[in-house]
C-alpha cells in the first residue's frame, strides 16, 4: 500500500489521509490483542494510524536496536552497561519480537527523524518488516538478526563474489541427496532475489545485470512474472516505490523445510564461511522447520508460487468455525411438499436443519458452527421470511445433481457490449441480473416477466391509501416499468457488483475508488462508500445482508455495514492488490484473493487473518465457498482451480483444464458439482463430491499438512461446454440447481 506512491515520505502522508484513524486503530489494536498473526497489518494501515500512540515506545525501540547490535558484535560489557543505564530488564530482550509487533507503527521511529535520505527510508521499511515478521519466536537461530534494524542491504560484500556464492550454493544443492534437493532448491528463488536487490541497492548495476542474466533462467517458471518486474529494476532509484520490491523486503519469504534438510544447509554454509548467504537467510527468510520426511518436488510445487513463499503452518492453526448458522425457525406452510423433504433426509443439505425445524426435532448446533450471536446479524424482516419460504419450496423441487445427472446451463449473452462488460451478478432467486460496464454504467435486467418499476415520487406517494393490503404494489409507478434500468454514478469502470440477499440493494465497486449502494426500489444511488482511494476490484454482500466487504488496489479489504460510511474492519496483510472478496456462508469470515497469489481468510469478529492459502501461480480472480461452508474453491489466471479444506487449512485438490483466467466459480446448491467459468470461453463442471470424498479417505490428520495431490483432473471433469466467443464472467446456480452463466459476446 505504501509503495503505490513514488517515495516513502509521500506515502506516509497519503496513508494518513487514506485511512480513517479511529476505526482502524480500534481494529488493529484489537487484532494485536487477539493473535500474533494479525499483528502484521500491512505496513501502511498501521503506520498511519498508530503513530501518535507510540511515542514512548520509540526510544525503547532504539535502545533495543543498539543493544542487539552490540550483542551481535560480542560487546557484552557494553551491553551490560547500557542495559543497566537504560533500566531495561534482561527478559525484555527476548520479548523484542512481540514488542516490535505490538508497536508495529512505532518501528519506523527507530530511525531518527532527521536524515530522511533514501537509505534510511529504505532501511526503515526493512526494519518494520523485521518487526512484523513472525513473531512466535522460532528456534533461536531463526531469530531475526539485529542488523536489520539498522540497514538491510548496506553490507558491502564484494559484488563479484555474489555469483561465486550463489553458484557455490547451487553446486552444493545439486549434489545433496535427492530427498533433500527439492526442499533446498526452494532457497534459490528468495536468495536470488535478495542478492540481486542487494547488488542493485549498492549500485553494482552491471554486476547485478550479469547476475540476473546468469541465474534468472534457473528459477521456477511460476515466478516468471515477478522476475519480469525485477528485471526492469536496475537502479537504486527504481527501488523506491516499487511495490513488488517492497513486498519482498517488508515481508519475509516463508519456506517450509524439514529439519534434516535445514541442518544440512546450515552445516554447509557454516563450513564454507558463507556469511553473505547466511545473512540473507537469516534476515529475509523465514524458515518454517518441521520434523519428518522431507517433501517431494511435487509437494513443494503444489504449495509454492506465492509472492512471499508458503503460508506458515502456525498461520493456519487458528480455529475456524466453518459450520453453518442455524437457520431461523420459520413456520413452513404444511403441504405435500413436506413429505418430499423428509425423504431427502440424510442428504448433507445446506437447508436441512430448517426443514427439521417444522418437526420440532430441532437439530443440535453444529460443533463447528459459530454461535448464533458471534457477530450481530440483522433481524429477519417479514419479507425475508417470505423469501425463505419461497426458497424452501423451490429447494424441494431441486434437482439432485451428480456425475450422471449434470445440470442444464442457460447462458446469458450480453450483446453489443463491445468488450465493455466487466462484472455480472445474479440475485439469489435468479430474477435479476446486473452488469457492470467499463463505461461506468451499471445495468439491471429483470429476467422474469415481472418488469422493473420505480417507486412513485413523494408527491404521488402521499395520495396512496396506506392502509390497503396491496400498498407495496401501489407504491410502484407503473409508468416506469421496463426490462432494464440504467444506473449512472461511477466515474470509472465498474469492476465488482453484488446484489443484497433481499434484492433491495445493489453494490458496485469501481475504478474511481468508491463502492456505491443502489436502491432497487428507486433505482438511485443511496451511498458512495469512500475509503479505498484506489480502484476497488471487488465487493460482495454478506449472505445475511447488511455487511459487505470490498477489496482493491490498496491491498486492504474493508468490511462495511450499509448504514455506516466508514468501514468497521480493515483486513490488511496482503502484499498486492486484493482481486476478489467472498463471504463465508455463515457471514463470520471473509475470504480474499490477491495478486500476491495467496488467499486469506479473515475473521469478521476480530479482524484476524485465520488462514493463508498458497499454491496459486497467478493472481486469484475467483473464489467460492461450498454450501456447507467446509471448503473453498479458488481460480486464478493460471487456469487452475484449487480446492481448500478450511477447517484443516489444507489444499485438497487441484483441477486442471482451463487454459485461461478463471473468472467465476460456483458450487451447486447441494455442493455436488463445482462449475468454473473462464476467459477461455468454456464452462467446466467438476465432480466436487468425488474430489472431497477421495480426500477424506486419506490420512487427513497428518500434522505436517503435506498432501499428495493425485492428478485426477480428468476424472473429475464432468463436462466442458464451449461458448461462442463469450468469456464466462459469472456463474450462478438457481435454487433448483439450474446453472446460469453470463458473459459478453465478443465477436
Amino acid at each position: 500500500m505504501a509503495a503505490i506512491q513514488g517515495g516513502m515520505a509521500e506515502a506516509v502522508e497519503i496513508k494518513d489521509i487514506k485511512t480513517e484513524p479511529p476505526v482502524d486503530a480500534v481494529v488493529n489494536n484489537n487484532a494485536n490483542d487477539g493473535s500474533v498473526l494479525s499483528a502484521s497489518p500491512g505496513p501502511g494501515g498501521s503506520v498511519g494510524s498508530t503513530k501518535p500512540a507510540t511515542g514512548a515506545l520509540e526510544e525503547k525501540q532504539t535502545l533495543l536496536a543498539i543493544l542487539q547490535f552490540l550483542k551481535k558484535n560480542q560487546l557484552s560489557e557494553s551491553v551490560d552497561i547500557l542495559r543497566r543505564e537504560a533500566g531495561l530488564p534482561q527478559d525484555l530482550f527476548d520479548l523484542k519480537g512481540a514488542d516490535a509487533s505490538s508497536g508495529s507503527g512505532g518501528t519506523p521511529g527507530t530511525v531518527e527523524g532527521g536524515g530522511l535520505d533514501a537509505n534510511s527510508l529504505l532501511s526503515r521499511v526493512t526494519s518494520s518488516s523485521a518487526a512484523q515478521a513472525p513473531v512466535k519466536a522460532p528456534p533461536a537461530e531463526d531469530q531475526p538478526d539485529v542488523s536489520v534494524v539498522l540497514s538491510a542491504y548496506s553490507q558491502q560484500g564484494d559484488p563479484a563474489l555474489y555469483e561465486v556464492y550463489y553458484s557455490g550454493l547451487k553446486k552444493f544443492i545439486e549434489t545433496v541427496l535427492d530427498c533433500h534437493r527439492a526442499e533446498l532448491s526452494q532457497v534459490f528463488y528468495p536468495l536470488f532475489v535478495h542478492m540481486y536487490l542487494e547488488l542493485v541497492y549498492n549500485n553494482h548495476e552491471n554486476v547485478a545485470k550479469a547476475f540476473f542474466e546468469k541465474f534468472s533462467g534457473d528459477q521456477e517458471c511460476y515466478y516468471r512474472e515477478d522476475l519480469q518486474v525485477l528485471s526492469g529494476l536496475t537502479k537504486k532509484e527504481h527501488m523506491r516505490g516499487n511495490e513488488t520490491l517492497l513486498d519482498f523486503r517488508t515481508s519475509k519469504f516463508v519456506l517450509r523445510i524439514s529439519r534434516d534438510s535445514y541442518q544440512l544447509l546450515k552445516r554447509h554454509l557454516q563450513e564454507r564461511q558463507n556469511n553473505q548467504i547466511w545473512n540473507i537467510i537469516q534476515e529475509h527468510l523465514y524458515i518454517d522447520i518441521f520434523d519428518g520426511m522431507p517433501r517431494s518436488k511435487s509437494q513443494i510445487d503444489a504449495m509454492s508460487g506465492s509472492l512471499a513463499g508458503e503460508g506458515k503452518r502456525e498461520a493456519n492453526k487458528a480455529k475456524v468455525y466453518y459450520g453453518l448458522l442455524k437457520e431461523p425457525e420459520i413456520e413452513l406452510p404444511l403441504d405435500d411438499e413436506d413429505e418430499e423433504a423428509e425423504n431427502e433426509e440424510g442428504k448433507p443439505k445446506k437447508k436441512k436443519p430448517k426443514k427439521d425445524s417444522t418437526g420440532s426435532k430441532s437439530k443440535k448446533q453444529d460443533p463447528n458452527a459459530p454461535s448464533q450471536t458471534r457477530i450481530p446479524l440483522p433481524e429477519l424482516k417479514d419479507s425475508d421470511k417470505l423469501d425463505k419460504i419461497m426458497y424452501m419450496k423451490e429447494a424441494t423441487k431441486r434437482i439432485r445433481l451428480g456425475r450422471d445427472n449434470l445440470p442444464s446451463i442457460c447462458f446469458y449473452s450480453f450483446l453489443n457490449a463491445y468488450q465493455g462488460l466487466t462484472a455480472v451478478d445474479f440475485t439469489d432467486d435468479s430474477s435479476l441480473i446486473a452488469g457492470g460496464f467499463a463505461d461506468s454504467s451499471v445495468r439491471v435486467w429483470s429476467v422474469t416477466p415481472k418488469k422493473l418499476r420505480k417507486v412513485k415520487s413523494a408527491a404521488d406517494l402521499n395520495l396512496i391509501d396506506k392502509e390497503s393490503d396491496d400498498v407495496l404494489e401501489r407504491i410502484m409507478d407503473e409508468k416506469t416499468a421496463s426490462e432494464s434500468k440504467l444506473l449512472y454514478g461511477h466515474s470509472g469502470p465498474v469492476y465488482g457488483i453484488s446484489f443484497s440477499p433481499d434484492r433491495n440493494y445493489l453494490l458496485s465497486s469501481s475504478e474511481d475508488g468508491t463502492v456505491r449502494l443502489w436502491s432497487l426500489q428507486t433505482f438511485t444511488c443511496l451511498v458512495g462508500y469512500k475509503g479505498h482511494n484506489y480502484p476497488v476490484w471487488d465487493t460482495q454482500f454478506s449472505p445475511h445482508g447488511y455487511y459487505f466487504v470490498s477489496g482493491g488496489h490498496d491491498r486492504v479489504a474493508r468490511l462495511w455495514v450499509t448504514d455506516h460510511h466508514q468501514p468497521l474492519r480493515m483486513f490488511a496483510g496482503h502484499l498486492a492488490d486484493i482481486t476478489c472478496t467472498r463471504f463465508h456462508p455463515n457471514s463470520n469470515y471473509v475470504a480474499t484473493g490477491s495478486s500476491d497469489r495467496t488467499i486469506r481468510l479473515w475473521d469478521v469478529l476480530n479482524g484476524n487473518c485465520v488462514r493463508i492459502f498458497t499454491g496459486h501461480k497467478g493472481p486469484i480472480h475467483a473464489l467460492s465457498f461450498s454450501p456447507n461452508g467446509k471448503f473453498l474453491a479458488s481460480g486464478a489466471t493460471d487456469g487452475r482451480v484449487l480446492l481448500w479444506d478450511i477447517g484443516h487449512g489444507l489444499m485438497i485438490g487441484e483441477l486442471k483444464g482451463h487454459t485461461d483466467t478463471i473468472y467465476s466459480l460456483k458450487f451447486s446448491r447441494d455442493g455436488e458439482i463445482l462449475a468454473s467459468g473462464s476467459m477461455d470461453n468454456t464452462v467446466r463442471l467438476w465432480d466436487a463430491m468425488k474430489a472431497f470424498d477421495d480426500l477424506e479417505t486419506d490420512d487427513f490428520t497428518a500434522t505436517t499438512g503435506h498432501i499428495h495431490l493425485q492428478d485426477n483432473s480428468q476424472e473429475l471433469l464432468l463436462g466442458c461446454y464451449t461458448t461462442k466467443s463469450s468469456p464466462v464472467l459469472h456463474l450462478h446456480f438457481t435454487r433448483r440447481n439450474l446453472l446460469l452463466a453470463a458473459g459478453g459476446y465478443n465477436p
Partner: protein, 636 residues
C-alpha cells in the same frame, strides 16, 4: 547500448536515439550521451511499470487486449495525468517514414475538412446492450444451435476423416489430454498392447437421433418441395446450422441420388433445387465437405454437361442451371483443390476432352465451356481462346448452314454468347487497344466481328468505371476507417462504431488500378469497399486503403472462405459488354470479387475478377454466409 540490446528481452531498454529525437521535439538541442542513457533507462523502467499496472486493469476488465484506457488508468494510479485524446481505432496507428538516414514512426494526423464531416451522413448509433439467453447445455449435452459453437469443429471433422485413430470424443478434445496420454506412453506400454485391438478404427454407425431424422426429413422435403418460402428457410438452415456434420453423409447421398434420378427424368426444377442444396452445404462454414466430394462433384458435373436436363430443351432455360452448376464447380475447385486430389486439373481435363469431341452435343458443349470459363481468366486464355476459331466455324456451320434442327440452333446461339461474354474481357486485357476487325478475323475467325465490338464496349465501360471509381472513393471517404470488426468496440462515439455491423468479406472488394495515377509508385494500394448490410441496400460503405501486401493477409485472415461462399449468390449480369480489366460501371457501387487464393495475381493485375453488382441480391444474404449474425452482434 549494443551489448544491452543483445541481452534478453527482459532487460530491453529504449535506444538513446529515441531520447534524442524526443528531446529535439521539445526543443532541447544537444543532449549528452550520458543523459540519454540515464533517461532511456529511467523511461524504460517507468514504461514497464506502467504497463504492468495496465495489465491489472486489463485482467479486471475481463479482456485479452490491452487498451489505451488501461494505460490511462494505470497512469491515474500513479497520480499522473492520463494521456487524453489518445484513443486509436487502429491497432498500430503509427506510420513509418525514413529519410536522411533517420527512421521515424509518427502518429498520423490528417487535416480534416469540416464541411466534409458535416456533409457525411451521421454514423449509426451503436446498438444498445441487450441480454439474450440460450441453452449452453441441456442435462449435460450441448444442443447444436447457432448460439453454440459447432459441436465438432472443422479441424476435428478433418481429423476424423484423415486420422481416424486419433479421434477424441467431444468434451475431451483438449490437446493436453492427448499429449498427456502420449507422454505417459512408457508407463502404459503394457496397457497399450492390451488396448491394441480397441485402437482399430471404430465402426461408425452414423445413427441419427430422432430429432435429427425429423430434421433431415423436414429439410429434404422443404428443399425439393413446392413452397419457395420453406425452401429458402431450409437452405438457410443448411447454410448456417452448426450441427449438421452428422447428417452430411445423408445429404450428400440425397443429392447424388437425386441428380441421378432427375437427370434421367429430365426434371429441371428438382435439379436446380438440388444444386442450391449443394451451394448451401458449401456455404456452411462448419462442415468439412472434403469427405463427400466424390458424391457431390459428379452430381454437379452432371448438371453442367448433361445432354439433356429438361423435357423441352428448346423452351426451358436449362442454360441457367448449367451456369449455376459451373460456378459451383469453380467454387469447389477453388476451395477444395489440393495437390493431392487435383480436382481442378481433373475437371479441366474432363471438360476439355468432351469439348474437343466433334460429336458432342451443343448442350454439353455449352456446359464444358461454361465450366472452363468459370475457372478463371487463365483457363480462358490457355484453353478457350485458341479454340475460338474452330468453335466459330462450328457455330457458323449451324447458323448459316442448312437448318438441321431448332435445338441445335439455340444451342449454338447460346454457346456463341457465352464465348463472347467470357472471352471479351480476357481479350481486352491481353490485346493492345487498337481493335481491328480484320486482325480479329485472322485470329478468331467467324466470331471476330462480334468479339471485336464486345471488346471495345468492355474498354469504354472500364474507362467510365475508372472515373466512377474515383468519384465514389472521394465521396465516401470517412475519417478513419477500420478493418476489424471487433477492435473498435471501445472507440470514441464518432467515426465508425459501425464497423461492428460491417463485415469485410474478401469478395466484396474493389480494385482500383486507377490507370494513369502517377502518385502511386509502389504497388497500388487496394481500395476496399466494405458493404454494410442494412435492409438489403448498401447504406454504409467505407473505402479502406491497404497496401496490397498487407491486404492479402488481412483479407484471408478475417474471412477465409468468403469468396467461395459469396460468389454464386450474386448473379453476373448477362448482357454486359466488353470491359476493361478490373472494373466496370454499374448503376451503383461496383464490387469486384477477387479470387481468394492468390493475391499475387491481383498485384499483377492479370486477373479478371468477376464483376458483380451488389444491387442484384440482397446483401443480407451475403452477410449470412459469413460469421452468422455478426451484423447484430448476436451469436446466431
Amino acid at each position: 547500448m549494443a551489448e544491452e540490446r543483445r541481452q534478453k528481452q527482459c532487460s530491453v531498454v529504449l535506444p538513446t536515439e529515441s531520447m534524442k529525437a524526443m528531446a529535439e521535439s521539445v526543443g532541447v538541442g544537444q543532449l549528452q550521451e550520458d543523459s540519454c542513457t540515464a533517461l532511456s533507462e529511467e523511461v524504460s523502467y517507468r514504461i514497464k511499470e506502467i504497463t504492468q499496472d495496465a495489465l491489472k486493469f486489463m485482467h479486471h476488465g475481463k479482456r485479452r487486449k490491452l487498451t489505451t484506457s488501461d494505460i490511462d488508468n494505470a497512469l491515474k494510479l500513479k497520480n499522473v495525468e492520463p494521456l487524453y485524446g489518445f484513443q486509436s481505432q487502429e491497432f498500430i496507428p503509427f506510420r513509418f517514414a525514413s529519410g536522411g538516414g533517420r527512421e521515424l514512426h509518427f502518429y498520423e494526423e490528417k487535416e480534416v475538412d469540416l464541411s466534409d464531416i458535416i456533409n457525411t451522413p451521421l454514423p449509426r448509433v451503436p446498438l444498445d446492450v441487450s441480454l439474450k439467453a440460450h441453452w449452453l447445455s441441456i442435462e449435460g449435452i450441448q444442443p447444436s444451435i447457432p448460439e453454440n459453437p459447432p459441436p465438432a469443429p472443422k479441424e476435428q471433422q478433418k481429423a476424423e476423416s484423415t486420422e481416424p485413430l486419433k479421434v477424441v470424443k467431444p468434451g475431451q478434445e483438449e490437446d493436453g489430454t492427448i499429449q498427456g496420454k502420449t507422454q505417459g506412453a512408457p508407463a502404459a506400454d503394457g496397457k497399450g498392447k492390451e488396448k491394441g485391438p480397441i485402437r482399430l478404427k471404430p465402426r461408425s454407425t452414423h445413427e441419427l437421433s430422432v430429432e435429427q431424422q425429423l430434421y433431415y426429413k423436414e429439410i429434404t422435403e422443404a428443399c425439393v418441395g413446392s413452397c419457395e418460402a420453406k425452401r429458402a428457410e431450409a437452405l438457410q438452415s443448411i447454410a448456417t446450422d452448426p450441427g449438421l456434420y452428422q447428417m452430411l453423409p445423408r445429404f450428400s447421398t440425397f443429392i447424388s441420388e437425386g441428380v441421378r434420378v432427375n437427370v434421367v427424368q429430365n426434371n429441371l426444377a428438382l435439379l436446380i433445387y438440388l444444386m442450391r442444396m449443394v451451394k448451401a452445404l458449401m456455404d456452411n462454414p462448419t462442415l468439412y465437405l472434403e469427405k463427400y466430394l466424390h458424391e457431390l462433384i459428379p452430381a454437379v458435373v452432371t448438371c453442367i454437361v448433361s445432354k439433356q436436363l429438361c423435357l423441352r430443351p428448346d423452351v426451358d432455360n436449362h442454360w441457367a442451371l448449367r451456369d449455376f452448376a459451373a460456378r459451383l464447380m469453380a467454387q469447389s475447385c477453388k476451395t477444395f483443390s489440393t495437390t493431392t486430389n487435383n480436382i481442378q486439373s481433373r475437371i479441366t481435363k474432363t471438360f476439355t476432352k468432351s469439348w474437343l469431341d466433334d460429336k458432342t452435343q451443343w448442350t454439353t458443349r455449352y456446359g464444358c465451356i461454361a465450366g472452363l470459363a468459370e475457372l478463371g481468366p487463365d483457363v480462358i486464355k490457355t484453353l478457350i481462346l485458341p479454340r475460338l476459331a474452330v468453335e466459330g466455324a462450328r457455330i457458323k456451320a449451324v447458323m448459316e448452314g442448312p437448318v438441321i434442327s431448332n435445338i441445335d440452333k439455340i444451342g449454338a446461339d447460346h454457346v456463341q454468347s457465352l464465348l463472347l461474354k467470357h472471352c471479351a474481357s480476357v481479350i481486352a486485357k491481353i490485346r493492345p487497344p487498337p481493335d481491328n476487325v480484320e486482325q480479329y478475323r485472322i485470329d478468331y475467325g467467324y466470331l471476330a466481328p462480334m468479339l471485336c465490338s464486345h471488346v471495345m464496349k468492355a474498354r469504354t465501360q472500364a474507362a467510365m468505371q475508372a472515373q466512377q471509381v474515383n468519384r465514389t472513393t472521394l465521396t465516401i471517404t470517412q475519417p478513419r476507417p477500420t478493418l476489424s470488426v471487433s477492435q473498435s468496440g471501445l472507440s470514441a462515439s464518432t467515426g465508425p462504431r459501425t464497423p461492428s455491423i460491417i463485415k469485410v468479406p474478401s469478395s466484396l472488394t474493389l480494385m482500383s488500378p486507377r490507370p494513369g495515377t502517377p502518385s502511386q509508385p509502389s504497388p497500388p494500394a487496394t481500395k476496399y469497399i466494405v458493404m454494410g448490410t442494412s435492409a438489403g441496400s448498401a447504406s454504409t460503405q467505407q473505402v479502406i486503403t491497404i497496401n496490397s501486401s498487407q491486404s492479402a493477409s488481412t483479407v484471408t485472415s478475417t474471412v477465409p472462405s468468403a469468396t467461395s461462399t459469396l460468389q454464386p449468390l450474386v448473379k453476373v449480369e448477362p448482357g454486359s459488354g466488353p470491359t476493361l480489366p478490373g472494373s466496370r460501371p454499374m448503376q451503383k457501387y461496383i464490387v469486384v470479387s477477387l479470387p481468394s487464393s492468390n493475391s499475387s495475381m491481383e498485384n499483377k493485375g492479370s486477373v479478371i475478377p468477376t464483376p458483380i453488382s451488389t444491387t442484384l441480391e440482397p446483401t443480407g444474404k451475403t452477410d449470412r454466409s459469413e460469421s452468422p449474425g455478426a451484423s447484430t452482434q448476436s451469436p446466431h
